[in-house]
Amino acid sequence: MPVVAKTAGMPSSAHEVWIEPPRAWAGANWKQLWRHRALLWTLTWRDIKVRYRQTVLGAIWAVLQPLTTMAIFTVVFGRLAQMSSDGVPYPIFVFMGLLPWLFVSQGLNVASNSLVGNAGLITKVYFPRLIIPTASILSSLVDFGISFGVLVCLMAWYGLVPSLSWLLLPMPLALAVVTSLGVGIWLSALNVKFRDVRLTIPFLTQIWMFSSPIIFPTSLIEPKWRTLYGLNPMVGIIEGFRWSLIPRGVAPDLGSIVMSTVVALVLLATGVLFFRRVERNFADLI
């Protein structure tokens, strides 16, 4: 029985691959990534499934973590330190800052370990390696979604109803994904080569958290420094996020949002370039 044609869905020339010593710098391999998109979804789905199966509390984590952090911050900074919150109830104010922050920090935490954690895959099958950190970041979106549900309930409790500006929410969210991907891809690639990168991450996230406007409003920063403050991409993300949710008080500084966007995109672009450069050695190093 002639069965040769069974797999010939596409002309085989479409599958011609040259295997050569790698060039020094290479951009993202979009064609390859597109061809393996199914694997991206599968890996994301696996990460989600495994995360909620291995922990006793499962999804409760995604509720508990921001809630307790919010409670502590509210007591310490809201009550004791009397921090300003631009007229929004302090708990809501902190929670709105914490949500994108927890997404980004959790994303880069999982992403940085993702390559080393999937060493078995990297040494045994081929696919664009960028899929691994990307999948781990996308899987963090589920936690974000759950926490967002909590936020909506909290706002309802305080009598805050959704407004039209909620339609703008995807923009700060996209910026958060880009930032998380940029930093996550950098760290994941570095962590293959330098295993002590992992140890610097808690330190790095702590500094980053307190330099981001989570517990304080950007209105505390002098106007002439605000654009410069946007160098921290979390500034653009949190400002955009807060303003889309509750469009009152001071409108976010446009300069800082543009700055944050540029920084996030540069982080992602350089991250991909660096990743692609070291990618070819992953199987030998890991």
């Binding site: 011609e16 010593p21 599968t42 890996l43 696996r46 199966r53 078995g120 990297i122 080569k193 030998d284």
Partner: protein, 436 residues
């Protein structure tokens, strides 16, 4: 050129020994090095020594100058010892690791099975793992869905499909893993010895499945240590040795080249004329060994239906010694076929010379292998003469792989080869037990 599936040109892969010893660096070391390295380089330049890359890292080539082609639909076996570069070659062809030099062109969708169960996750159920593993191997979701039942059926784990694989026995785990891999539909398949999984029955199933795959007209590169599976599955084979391509050609020829073949002195008969060269010790000295037909004439080719005589002539140097004589037969790959000694004969024809003290002088011992015992293939004879009173180490004379001869089947039609090292005519009896 049109129907080449894989073209490999001068492929090479270099590793650094230091990389192997310490697989990863620390950022701290690197930062220290960043400052130390220029200083070291400056020092060596000042001293007039060529700057060394790094004294600690020596390099070695896991693969070098390897070139070959694989036609579409061909099954190529790769054989070689551990560390000969087989796995490295497959890893390069499946793009897991990049080559250091040379290049390769691969036309067609590649599926690689370097390990069964790649990406299996212990926490997930068998069902989830089929989808996961399938996606890893490059199957599309609809493709997996279409084959799902066939995969489950083949793996024989249907009732545990929704149990996490961590509760599977290792046999079940391997069966499921192989089943997913076996249903991979790609034009080119790179396989690294994954056949030896599960129990005997399942192994047979695996081999049969692999044969189906190769008959599908797909291109396969297959690594194995088992010459049996290579011969069964491959059209051509290549031998890798220390990263170099040693030989490539027909599978029979390559396996013959690779397997440790006994070196045989002569065919048919060997006679020692000068006393210097004859195998000898304090008790005996061999004069000749011959393989003869019933007429007593030495030759190297026998029909299956002919008896084969091995005649051993030796000088007894010590009067009154009792000897035990022995022959051993190997096939051409060195597998033992049989051992026979004159103290262990057919009941109706005991050796009259057995346990008889012999006078000094020439002795002949003849062993007859009956007609229809040996199969139509090549055999190699080894001979031993053992004086009874000598200790086990001192007096025995053993000459290995002394003579070779060929058994042929003149009546043999094409495709009616009997498998096996021997081909005795056995007693059969078939009768009707009850009428229908």
């Amino acid at each position: 050129m049109q129907d080449l599936a894989i073209e490999v040109e001068e492929l090479g892969k270099r590793y650094h020994i230091a990389q192997v010893a310490a697989p990863y660096q620390t950022l701290r070391d690197s930062i220290v090095n960043l400052f130390a390295a220029p200083a070291r380089r400056a020092c060596s330049v000042l001293r007039g020594v060529a700057p060394q890359a790094d004294a600690r890292s020596r390099e070695f080539w896991a693969l070098r100058n390897v070139s070959f082609d694989v036609r579409r639909g061909e099954v190529l076996g790769i054989i070689g010892r551990n560390g000969s570069g087989k796995s490295t070659l497959l890893k390069i062809l499946s793009q897991i690791t990049a080559p250091t030099e040379g290049r390769a062109r691969v036309v067609g969708r590649v599926g690689s099975l370097l390990e069964v169960g790649t990406g299996f996750h212990y926490e997930l159920s068998g069902r989830d793992n089929i989808y996961l593993n399938g996606a890893m191997l490059g199957m599309r979701r609809d493709e997996i869905r279409r084959k799902f039942d066939a995969i489950v059926d083949f793996s024989q784990v249907a009732e545990f499909l929704d149990t996490p694989v961590k509760h599977y026995s290792s046999g079940m785990y391997m069966r499921l893993a192989f089943s997913v891999a076996a249903h991979l539909e790609s034009e080119i398949l790179l396989v690294d010895e994954v056949l030896a999984v599960g129990d005997f029955d399942f192994q047979k199933k695996c081999i049969a499945k692999m044969q189906d795959v190769t008959r599908d007209g797909r291109t396969v590169i297959f690594i194995s240590h088992s010459m049996g599976s290579v011969k069964e599955l491959c059209h051509r084979a290549m031998i890798l040795n220390h990263g170099r391509l040693e030989a490539i050609g027909g599978v029979e020829e390559m396996v013959d080249l690779y397997e440790p073949r006994p070196e045989v002195v002569a065919a048919g008969q060997v006679t020692w004329s000068g006393k210097d060269h004859a195998p000898a010790n304090d008790f005996v000295e061999l004069e000749s060994v011959a393989i003869c037909g019933p007429d007593g004439v030495a030759r190297a080719e026998f029909a299956v239906e002919e008896p084969v005589d091995v005649r051993i002539r030796f000088h007894n140097k010590r009067a009154g010694t009792v000897y035990r004589v022995e022959i051993r037969l190997r096939d051409k790959h060195g597998n033992w076929v049989l051992t026979s000694e004159n103290g262990y004969t057919s009941v109706d024809s005991p050796d009259p010379g057995l346990k008889t003290p012999l006078p000094a002088g020439l002795v002949e011992s003849c062993c007859r292998m009956p007609a229809s015992l040996l199969n139509d293939q090549e055999y190699v004879v080894s001979v031993a003469v053992v004086p009874e009173e000598a200790g086990t180490d001192g007096g025995q004379l053993y000459v290995e792989n002394l003579l070779q001869f060929q058994v042929i089947d003149p009546a043999c039609k094409q495709n009616t080869k009997y498998l096996g090292l021997v081909r005795p005519r056995l007693a059969w009896h078939t009768s009707q037990l009850n009428a229908a």
